[in-house]
Symmetry: C2
């Protein structure tokens, strides 16, 4: 059975906003475009959605093709479809954001930049990045998204520094601890951190045990 | 300048989850599909994205073509792109949800159904509706989305009943009032409601004055 469409078909891409925290700063992964349009500009990594490929699978493929990043938290951000956003042709971009627990995660084609002071980006990628940072900051307060930046076990000081990096502001230590402990999102492991420049501190993990 | 794509182009649609509150119940607007696939099934209103049409413009066009609904709150929900979600061909749907302040808002092609007990829907529209109800409930507690259901002025009792309709559960009157007043999202108009079966009560409006 065949159907005809009265409307032209846009190209559909997935663009990926990959975040990590490194040296107490929120960073985003960018690549230099090797071809026009915007050749030589920094952009978010992205690519066309393949036939028979789910959107999230496209996002994971881009992540594994363009970075050496392993397990991540992945969430659909929003879809960007302004008619003139790609000079080639109508292109609709489904944007995802990824959170990497490994602050040393490496990219193969690009580099990491401070998320609040990126270079000028090609396409509408500056807007996409802005929306992603807003979403991240908003969800930090009412979800356990902030834990996605953490390794398996962490101290509350490390977690607070991660929240501060995302929010771009200092938090009161006592209020932070009270709030995070009463949220039920973390639980003590019963073990203490060793080594490093700090005295031993209680190690915590995600309360769901993952 | 022309470019070639190595990937097939999907069709792109916008599907719309339009909510209203009517007789203290959260309702969703559905239409019966006049043609295959899923001919005769209830579905969310939707349509193809036109050339040179922004995605939000598609959503507004669908709203005005298929309903007699005027001003609404409109927000992008998520994009659904499972490869087999449309038996015709690869079709990616950008879903929006709309909130109607007018509980008597009329549709031209369809009808209103209880959002938590809809008929079986065509395509993956049951999933889209489920995600929309979840988003609505989640955002009720940390945004002023709930006010979008209200007319220009309203009593706190009317607002509470609207929240209860969305959440599907009763709320404590004193806690609700304390929480909504301390949120700064509403302000007293200085006037009282008249008429109706209830004694006069203070009328409120959105704190941004709109």
């Amino acid at each position: 059975m065949s159907y005809t469409y009265e409307f032209s078909r846009p190209a559909v891409t997935v663009d990926l906003v990959a975040f990590r925290i490194h040296d107490d700063a929120l960073e985003v992964y960018l690549i230099r475009r090797p071809e026009p349009p915007f050749k030589g500009h920094w952009t978010l990594p992205g690519g066309f959605v393949h036939e028979n490929e789910a959107l999230e699978a496209t996002a994971l493929r881009i992540l594994s093709d363009k970075t050496e990043i392993g397990d991540v938290y992945l969430e659909q951000l929003a879809t960007f479809g302004a008619p003139d956003r790609d000079p080639r042709d109508r292109t609709i971009s489904v944007a995802y954001f990824a959170i990497l627990a490994d602050g040393d995660a490496a990219g193969t084609d690009g580099d990491w930049f401070a998320a609040d002071a990126p270079p000028e980006l090609g396409f509408d990628h500056t807007s996409i990045l802005t929306v992603a940072v807003q979403r991240l900051r908003a969800k930090l307060t009412y979800s356990d998204l902030g834990l996605a930046f953490m390794p398996e076990t962490f101290t509350l000081t490390e977690l607070q520094r991660s929240f501060e990096a995302v929010l771009g502001q200092a938090l009161d230590k006592r209020n932070f601890r009270k709030s995070i402990l009463s949220s039920g999102r973390v639980e003590a492991t019963g073990e203490k951190s060793t080594g490093g420049a700090h005295p031993p501190a209680m190690l915590y993990r995600r309360a769901d045990g993952t």
